[in-house]
Symmetry: C2
Subunit: 250 residues, 2 copies
């Protein structure tokens, strides 16, 4: 059984939007912060990996959101490096209300290791994950089937800003979700809540790039729900895809 | 002597930029969070004010930065509502390293009260500030003289995004600094650090606006320092001005 680790996080007003609920990028940022804290505690921090010439790269998140955390709420973020196979490491996050224990979100994330010199994926050294007590498995988690935006989808350009890039000198993954969600209109973003978010990352984006964010909507029979399908391109290359299920606020 | 209040804040990676130091908008956000916590403790929270039909509006910050907080650092943010006169309330913030007590930044801010219906400034009711034990003064703090960008200054447009607006339904003040600083080039932003920041806010900015961010540079005799002068406009109306003194990283 993989080691669990948790942190308490106070949701700040600047992690929330006009709805007073945490934005999706900030929810991702806060859980990643917790996984970094676990890695540090187990002395396998990002800094220590970089000294070995390797770093973590996130390739996919599958988020199930029961209730978005609210401004001022104390949330308990629990994580474990659940399992791994030759190339993929699977990490889970549980977000709960600190007081009541109510489950707010569950996130299943896929990480790979990249060689910092070749920028290529490497196979996972067994000894690296000993401290996490992750289970070694053979199975590869295939994840969801992604829907692409339709032809003629709405699209909008975003110039990568200085504040979008992190200490790895590329755009922080969470930012992609910001560019995706911002394409929806004001009414949708105030009247609907994200319920499921599937996002996969294919290419790094750097300072100075201009990205094109595409999205279209997929209606469901349930009139109070719909999916949005998203893709982000830089110069004709797809950098990320996402599907988000929205439901009407009650 | 006005009541002091403090909070410990852990600087997260997503509050920092490529330099591993806290961004100016996030530094402002974190201190404002502390002032809101004090107001809540003294039962004069923003929510309670809004029930009285009024709200706080920040008109100016004067920041002196000795050393920007770093990712992972625990900082102690101390604040007090120092003094007030008929229309203006002056609040100070001190940012220190939690362990060593080293002074990292001092911020002197001016707040006014706005009537939520008329959107006009109102005079400060004495009884509102009793709990803060702020000193009533006659003097008006004039603040610095602002330099304007020169004719032909560099300018860049920014579309207001959904995530830029806060629960007051307008752009969060701190965001203005993001649009200002982003105009500088990559080399400047990695080789220089902000030392002084003066910013004044003149008009609200809303969702759907496109702002124009102007800036020019003012050289000093000391070759390792320079000023940048900034203004932000919406449809020909100035919404904010700022001057920032930068010094070369050591």
């Amino acid at each position: 059984m993989a080691k669990k680790f948790n942190e308490i996080h106070e949701v700040t007003f600047y992690e929330c939007d006009i709805n007073g609920t945490m934005t999706l990028p900030m929810l991702l940022n806060s859980v990643i912060k917790t996984s970094e804290a676990q890695s540090e505690q187990l002395q396998v921090s990002t800094d220590q990996l970089q000294k070995l010439g390797i770093t973590w790269v996130i390739t996919q998140h599958e988020m199930n959101i029961h209730r978005l955390p609210k401004v001022g709420q104390l949330i308990k973020i629990t994580t474990q490096g659940t399992s791994y196979n030759k190339y993929f490491c699977y990490r889970e996050f549980w977000v709960q209300d600190k007081e009541t224990g109510e489950q707010l979100a569950h996130i299943f994330s896929t990480f790979v290791l990249m060689d910092l010199t070749t920028r290529k994926m490497i196979s996972v050294p067994d000894d690296l994950l000993v401290a996490f007590e992750s289970e070694k498995i053979k199975r590869i988690h295939r994840g969801p089937h992604f829907h692409q935006p339709t032809d003629g989808a709405f699209h909008q350009p975003y110039r990568v800003r200085f504040s979008d890039i992190d200490s790895n000198k590329h755009v922080n993954n969470a930012k992609y979700l910001d560019w995706m969600v911002d394409c929806l209109d004001y009414d949708k973003l105030t009247q609907y809540l994200p319920q499921k978010v599937w996002i996969k990352f294919e290419k790094e984006i750097s300072y100075g790039h201009t990205i094109d964010s595409f999205f279209s909507q997929r209606l469901l029979e349930e009139h109070d729900q719909f999916w949005t399908d998203h893709e982000i391109f830089v110069e004709g290359n797809r950098c990320a895809s996402a599907n988000i299920l929205w439901r009407k606020r009650k």
